[in-house]
Symmetry: D5
């Protein structure tokens, strides 16, 4: 009996290691970006029927798990509110150090409102650099103005 999506995430993560799959391969198999696909496989997005069935074959999941992949999960992928993992912490630190700056500059350009985390996409690329390659990340989120009424 599967009673929550995180059990399916564990099955996927376990199969990925056993079968030495790469997230880019997984993404290609369903024709979506590697960022959205990985987030979905890690329990943060819902898949449509065709995608779920393709993933089910790739990861050799039982039918019940394939059904779960189409259910909207309870989101949030971190075990603690301040992440302990150094790679993820650096992102938390960016929000902490630059958070007030981001707020000021978006408001200066757009007025009161937010950058959407829902109508949102992300692209992560290697940027070659003679002084050491860089991780280049492009975040794109729709600006949503606060409604006054």
């Amino acid at each position: 009996m599967i009673s929550c999506r995180s059990q399916v995430t564990q099955m996927i993560v376990s199969a990925k290691v056993r079968k030495s799959l790469k997230w880019t391969q997984v993404a290609e198999s369903i024709g979506m970006s590697k960022e959205w696909t990985t987030a979905g496989c890690l329990g943060q997005m819902a898949f449509d029927k065709a995608q779920a069935e393709t993933l089910g074959k790739l990861f050799e999941l039982p039918d019940e798990a394939i059904a779960w992949l189409q259910i909207v999960p309870y989101k949030g992928s971190l075990p603690t509110s301040v992440p302990t993992d150094p790679l993820i912490y650096r992102w938390y630190e960016l929000v902490n150090v630059y958070g007030s700056t981001i707020k000021e500059l978006i408001h200066e350009e757009f007025g009161d409102g937010i950058m959407s985390a829902i109508d949102f996409s992300m692209d992560i690329q290697r940027q070659p650099d003679p002084k050491g390659d860089r991780v280049n990340v492009v975040l794109s989120g729709k600006f949503l103005p606060y409604k006054s009424y």
Copy 2:
């Protein structure tokens, strides 16, 4: 007597409102990016002597405050570990929802290590879009491999 950098930050923020300055103007005055300049003015970066003096004039700061702008501040710009402000929270949410994805994809491309938050830059731009303009943010951080020894 000024005994911590946050008193200077308050003076700057207060002067900016009183004098209706924009962060982009402030950045131009010292010839740096709007992102780094704003972060510095909000108490997250240290300025060199010339920058500090220019800012001192712009914001009409006392000499003691100009000295403080050259001191490395205790960083972290948020009052709570989970931010309450909706704009900043959306960024925290991104780290929460996409954190494990970012980790997986950077490790898949680069191996064990992190994306630096120190050798780092950020660029925030308006991206016109007929369905509603978007906030476009480019983050660039050097990849730092974990040393094995």
Copy 3:
């Protein structure tokens, strides 16, 4: 020197008590709803120039405070993450008890996405009832579907 919006909020709250004003009067003075106006006066929304000047007269605020009313504030009106005030706690309790239900029913009707708290309005009314009058609240938020990419 005013260095943050909460000082202005204190001035407003203090003046409101001293002058025995009602929030509905305040809202009428600027021609907006009582909900949005009160939220703005309590430091959760930004006003335009005309609104800020009207409020400045009503609450007898200094010019510097009127400038601050036009700045987007750092939002979040509660002193603790779990509110202690019984009236506000009941709302927190609703989110706690009904949170998973709201999630299930919105996803069942709309698919993956959220109910916006930005493109949002709220209307609070007294609903007469012989067994004891009721508080009737209508919340309206745009549905925002999660983007897949």
Copy 4:
């Protein structure tokens, strides 16, 4: 051996996915609203004997589980005090941003007291809108005045 209600909730959630049921169907089966029924199935309300037996058939639950459905559960449906799921967080954010406003306006209209979260009902509906459909939620709670003595 079932030793707490959450085990029954897991059985229900698991059966719902396996059998592709909808909450509206579940609600119809017992003749109650979709909001109250879903909350009950997710472990936040107690059912009477007839309701519990109907649900037992629908979800193919063992007799012990049907007995548990009639027991008042330990309520609270969120795993953390600040919810990480974006849909539920938006509601937490509403309480945070509008909490003090709600408090002010209810007190202005009714005096000291609270809006009951017990003598309470909720109705969630889709509101068609050319600019994007909206989620419309009506909350109705009895006003309870503070007793002075």
Copy 5:
């Protein structure tokens, strides 16, 4: 300028010590119980105009403070979520040790619902006892049944 009720609470507490008043005297002056009166003076209840004026004279408060006493305060009288003071902690401990018992016995007698903390009164008395006097506290709260709909 008084900008929150807690400033008035401090004035009252300070005057009470300076003038060696007793809470029972204060309660008599406004003709209410000592429990409700003390809670009000400590910033947990709102007074009507006559009560506020009587208290204003007793504690020699300025007019602005008397206006504040008629405003519903932001409630919650403890500085930390788990109280450090030994006397108050014992009550927290009672809730912790007996909380599940209270829940079970009220549900067994009344069904699903709560004991109101709003339509509520409390009476604290000394109960002479040869083995050492006891504190006797009677709590009376209306039972509010959960509404099903």
Copy 6:
């Protein structure tokens, strides 16, 4: 193997539902109050040998569990420091809203010291009331004066 009292509590709670027992019946079986008996069965008190054996028969517990009922448990019956369950939360709220009042009035009557939560008893009764029945709770705790030395 039973390695902590909470396993026995789960056995008892499970048996109580399966066998439709009431706490008042359980209390009668051992000749103690319903409050103390329930607290004991929920893992907050230790039973003597005769009581434990009677309970063992009533709940059909194994011998090992009967031995555990005679061991003093690690007390505290709530899963979080601020309880999420609405019924129990109302009690936490009473401590929060009335905590400072209780402290003031006990000190005014008795001087420095506490109301014992150990030499303590509680009695919960239904109090019929035409406006809605009330929960009446009598708490009795020995006053313990702070020792000065």
Copy 7:
């Protein structure tokens, strides 16, 4: 205006440094132990009138402060729930490492109940030792048996 005991504590601590007093001298001046006296001066105990007046002269306190010394304070002398100061932390660590042991051994000797922290005294002495002097602390608390009823 003094509005809480901690202001008096600051006056005492400040005067003690300015006048180079020792706690043992302070204790002698009122004829009590150094442990109880220090706790009282640090805002954890209430003094009687004679003691308060003696301390008032010793620390040159205003009359209002002397009145406050006779009021039972809100107790708890640590700024965080886990103390950061190394000396005090070692005591917290003792409770953490030995807490379950203390519980087991007191219950084994006395049955269910507690060691009182109210009917309690403490004596701190230097114990000479050739391998390095030791701090010797004797704690004496009345055993209070849990009441069964």
Copy 8:
């Protein structure tokens, strides 16, 4: 497979209840104090080979568990940072109420440094008293001066 010391602790605690052993007997079996022995059995100290084997026989532990008893455990015996159990809480309360006093008096006698919790021993005894027996605890810790360099 045993993968952490706490599994061994559970075996010991379970065997102790099953076999009705007392901690004083356990301590005698290895010739150490009851305080240190109990702490060790509860997973706070490491035993030598002979002690571990004796305990293994007494509690009928498997060989793997006996090996684990000789490994230094991850210490800390409380499930929450503020303990909920009333007996242990009283000790936490002592640290909270008397913490600053202990700090002041040790520094007054010894200068800057700490009382060791490592080079430490504890002795718990019953002290007969006509007004009710007392728990007498002697704590002895080496004073360690802060090194200046």
Copy 9:
């Protein structure tokens, strides 16, 4: 099915106790330092294929576990944000007591930036000393200057 690295860590820790291995032996077997090897075995570093296979033989791990050893783990080896274990707490205390000092001195010597915890190594040695041997730890981290842009 292995679904996270911590299951492998448990297998390693369990095998190490069963087979009485030492970390220095484990380190020698793969030709790396004892510090990095231990961190890796405890789930904080990723191994290459050859290292993982050697460790697999040494600890008699299944193939699936060997695959997991080559995956970058979610790092962070402590169960609570403030560690309870006395040895590890002393290190936390160092950061707490000396943290601001370390910050000041590194900035004084190097300017704004950090000491890397990624391009980092650590060496732990016994330093004989007639007054008691000392633990000598050398930490070496690359200085990374904050980028200004």
Copy 10:
């Protein structure tokens, strides 16, 4: 009136910026290491009379402040239990990532006990390196074995 050491720390920090002093100069003035001196000036150590007077002249402190420098402070230099400043956080991260490793290796070499943070010294040096200079830190702490008794 100075009522706690942190006021003196603010005076020192303020004077250091105003007078452009360096910590190495401060250390030389009292003939102690830069690490211990800085920690002391930042409120973590107590100075002797001669040191305090020298520092008083250097920082132009009032006599009352010089008296406070000789008092043992309440230690702990970080405003939050998990530090937000990136430089200090890296040290917290080291404890988190390497904490269990440090524990294992010290126990393997020394047996049960701790590395003292009291009988402790620290030396921070620049280590030139063609690939980027490194921060080299040597920590030396006496090993303290756990006493068994």
